[in-house]
């Protein structure tokens, strides 16, 4: 299938999905993987990513009739809904983490939950999670989902220039946290 017919196909899928369940299911199938991967890259945990992906598509089902944009805007809208759901999940997790930290400090680190993960993956997770949710979103969309700055700007309701400067700031912060890893790569 060439690109133009794929776009036409998606356009008609979007239009039909308002009143045709099978069209909505096709639309869901073509976007599920991207949404799940985005959630997995933001949350670093499969189970959480699956929960949030479900939340995202349930919101999409509730609001699809109100969506009036084109296919590209639909993709940005999906990332926007996913970003809000991920951020809300992270906020709840941060609250839990604070409680867990308090518990760890009072149990001399004997609890299994207090173990410090040491792999590179854990290192990246720790580093990314120190960023503000907005910076986390920018890093994930840019490096894991390969979105252009203009697309990220659309997801965040911001300008590409602002996204560019926030990306630079986020990277500078990550660089500080991951300084040793960056040096080893050279």
């Amino acid at each position: 299938m060439d690109t133009s017919s794929k776009v036409d196909d998606e356009k008609s899928l979007l239009a039909r999905s308002h009143d045709d369940d099978s069209a909505f299911v096709q639309l869901y199938r073509s976007h599920y993987d991207a949404v799940f991967r985005y959630c997995a890259h933001r949350l670093f945990e499969r189970a959480k990513a699956e929960d949030v992906t479900s939340e995202v598509f349930l919101k999409v089902v509730e609001n699809i009739n109100g969506f009036k944009g084109n296919e590209k805007q639909f993709r940005c809208w999906l990332y926007k809904v996913a970003t809000n759901a991920v951020n809300s999940n992270l906020r709840k997790a941060a609250r839990r983490k604070r409680l867990l930290k308090f518990a760890c400090e009072h149990s001399n680190g004997q609890d299994a939950n207090c173990a410090v993960p040491a792999e590179k993956f854990a290192l990246l997770r720790e580093a990314v999670l120190t960023l503000k949710p907005r910076y986390q979103t920018i890093i994930t969309l840019r490096f894991f989902e390969n979105l252009k700055l203009t697309e990220i700007a659309e997801v965040l309701g911001s300008s590409p220039g602002t996204v560019r400067s926030q990306l630079t700031r986020a990277l500078a912060k990550l660089r500080k946290v991951l300084a040793a890893e960056f040096t080893n790569q050279r």
Partner: protein, 287 residues
């Protein structure tokens, strides 16, 4: 792509994520969505044809035009009520989390020399700490004179009456950051039942006409600095907090302890703002 971006891309390219979608979850979710879809009312094409037949007569067209005009006027009149469906505290928490620095302009209550409670003009520039839980840097001006300045390492407290500066090494009691974390906590207290009054109303800014959300909260619990009552005004469009008031009782009674009539948001503020210049002839006490 610059060097920093390339380096980070190299770093993440070597990391294995558990990000392969599970077909079982995909199929299960698809079934769940289909169940929701069947319960949900969908658009129907049929009424459109009937509509076109009715609209053939002139009288029907005129009557419809009149109805549309009335509906338009009514929709503007009752817009305030419709905004209730679009705002949730989570939206404001998300909007506030984008800003690291805030300027509050308003007034505060103080005990005057005559023993009477009086209001005075205050301006407070604040910058949050790393995780936006506390104020790290602050400049508090009373009637244009800086009375508390902290750069996160040193704090200066100035008393213009005695021309004395007290210099403390750490910032003794960091204020809680009135940003996303504050409202997140407030929302959590509400969920846990700590807050005994939580009310959302809708209206307009009388000057600009912009849609506003008003949140009033109150609590007695002494563990959370109670009794307290607060009033917050959020902008519907930006979801940001635009003004607030605080009372040291749980009934919004008497003059407010703090009033912030104007709140401006910044991504950051210059460090120079948080350095204190010792006034000429001032006595400096280091603690």
């Amino acid at each position: 792509m610059n060097d920093n971006e390339r380096q980070f891309e190299d770093f993440v390219s070597n990391i294995k994520f558990d990000d392969i979608p599970d077909p079982d979850h995909r199929n299960k979710l698809e079934q769940d969505l289909l169940r929701v879809l069947t319960k949900q009312p969908r658009h129907k094409q049929q009424p459109l044809k009937i509509w076109r037949i009715i609209m053939k007569t002139k009288m029907a067209k005129s009557a419809t035009a009149a109805v549309i005009i009335v509906a338009f006027v009514l929709s503007i009149t009752f817009f305030n009520n419709s905004t209730s469906k679009v705002w949730a505290i989570e939206q404001s928490i998300e909007a506030l989390s984008r800003y690291n620095a805030i300027l509050f302009e308003g007034s505060e209550l103080f005990l005057g020399e005559n023993g009477q409670l009086q209001m005075r003009d205050v301006k407070t520039w604040t910058v949050a700490n790393e995780d936006q839980t506390k104020v790290e840097k602050e400049r508090h001006e009373v009637d244009g004179v800086p009375t508390i300045v902290t750069n996160g390492v040193e704090t200066w407290r100035y008393d213009p009456q005695t021309n004395t500066v007290i210099k403390n090494r750490p910032y003794g009691t960091p204020e809680s950051w009135i940003g996303s974390h504050f409202f997140e906590q407030l929302s959590a207290f509400h969920e846990e039942g700590v807050i005994n009054d939580w009310k959302v109303t809708y209206g307009k800014d009388p000057v600009t006409g912009r849609q506003r959300i008003f949140l009033t909260v109150a609590w007695f619990d002494k563990r959370y600095n109670g009794p307290r009552s607060m009033w917050f005004e959020f902008d519907v469009e930006s979801k940001l907090l635009v003004s607030m008031k605080q009372w040291e009782n749980s009934n919004w009674e008497g003059p407010s302890r703090i009033v912030s009539e104007k709140i401006t948001y910044y991504e950051n503020l210059p460090d120079e703002l948080f350095e204190f210049e010792i006034p000429e002839g001032a006595k400096v006490i280091e603690e």
